[in-house]
Symmetry: C2
Subunit: 247 residues, 2 copies
């Protein structure tokens, strides 16, 4: 793990890093409260499709998590996203998605294929990132949470199912298509977000994914609006959820 | 409005009252912070079927609302409940519900008939209670919220739709059967609770009622468990919701 830059503003330190791994270097970013020492809760944030580790929604959530709750937060570019190279397989599927979007063809099967391909890479990557970050003095081996919407949910469900260090997860904006089997192996508390008028994820598929989690404590929050229109007050709820389960 | 008793514990004053009205005296209870003076947010709490104004779930929510948020809270016995007389019509429908419950007959149509009958009485009663309570020096004409689950939702929806003083409502554990039309006239913020394994309210009917609210801000919280098993953390959410919209 190699740090390439460090900046600080509003009480939060942001460190860019790269971590060598099987499929090339993983570029990531770590946010911690200024002057942090010792173990603390850690949130892993998985960005949405077409986004990257410093997408505005990720940065805003990460900075508030660090500033208000004292958490460490890490985000990485998902395979084929941000600063990472795309494979020929990535390019083929993305071209197919674009073609279908233009012709009005069915997107769900191609998106599911894409998510399955990426999850095969991102699950071991997240485990390696977690190993590396928890060795840092100002992060340590504290309780771990995962946050991911949309593609961040699709890649997060198999990761949370596979990784016993994750103790709570905020997921949403994705359906059961590729995730139901892994969701049924998740038993940690889950807060699950649904946009009631989501133009990309059918409502029934979202409800089916919520249904599939084996967690004794799971709570579904549905709000009006399209895929990208999660209301601001849900971030308050996310912070309280992680504080309750990781604090 | 005549006060019949006043007690205080843990910083909250509880006053029992009766209010003369068309269908006989309405017995009620008002909770306020000890020593309260001046206008403050007021929550009207509608109890569930077969319960009464001092059911444990009402008392616990009311006391926390007064102690932690400084709100005034009022609850009354719904028509045919608690200390109130039942009419021959009430008795007939209740007998029919019991008979069907014993023989496994369909409850929903009788329950809908009961709720429609009671709402015709309780909507004007709630308006009279609100008029009277807002004249008190330690309540005043501050912003008003309504909280009601199950029958408290069935009776609350037409009331909130009819009463412009209500600025926010927490509703739930009821379906769209008798409430969809009134729900479509509600435009204030709504937090709506669904129990995912509700043995009394079909999930689809609950989701249909959430769908029906015309509110630009409405948020659905669904949790695993049966009708009466709302998790404790939802009360925290209720208090934050009312604080945000009435505070």
């Amino acid at each position: 793990m190699r740090f390439t830059s460090q900046t600080s503003s509003d009480g939060v330190t942001e460190q860019l890093f790269t971590l060598p791994f099987t499929f090339g270097e993983i570029p990531g970013v770590l946010w911690t409260p200024d002057g942090a020492t010792g173990a603390r809760p850690l949130i892993l944030m998985g960005h949405g499709g077409g986004q990257h580790k410093k997408a505005p929604g990720i940065v805003a959530r990460a900075r508030r998590s660090a500033a208000e709750c004292g958490f460490a937060v890490v985000a990485v570019d998902a395979p084929g996203h941000g600063d990472r190279l795309r494979s020929a397989e990535h390019d083929r599927i993305i071209a197919e998605m674009r073609a279908r979007a233009q012709t009005g063809g069915e997107l769900a099967p191609v998106l599911a294929e894409f998510h399955t391909l990426l999850a095969g890479q991102s699950v071991p990557e997240w485990r390696a990132v977690l190993d590396a970050v928890q060795e840092l003095d100002h992060v340590g081996a504290g309780p771990v949470g995962y946050w991911g919407m949309s593609m961040g949910c699709a890649l997060g469900v198999p990761f949370v199912a596979a990784e016993p260090r994750v103790r709570a997860a905020v997921l949403g904006l994705n359906g059961a298509e590729t995730s139901a089997e892994a969701a049924a192996r998740i038993t940690v508390p889950v807060e699950f977000l649904v946009q009631w008028d989501d133009e990309m994820v059918p409502r029934a598929a979202s409800l089916a994914l919520f249904d599939a989690f084996a967690s004794a404590e799971k709570t579904l929050h549905a709000n009006p609006g399209k895929h990208a229109e999660i209301p601001v007050f849900e971030l308050d709820s996310t912070l309280r959820f992680f504080s309750r389960h990781l604090g």
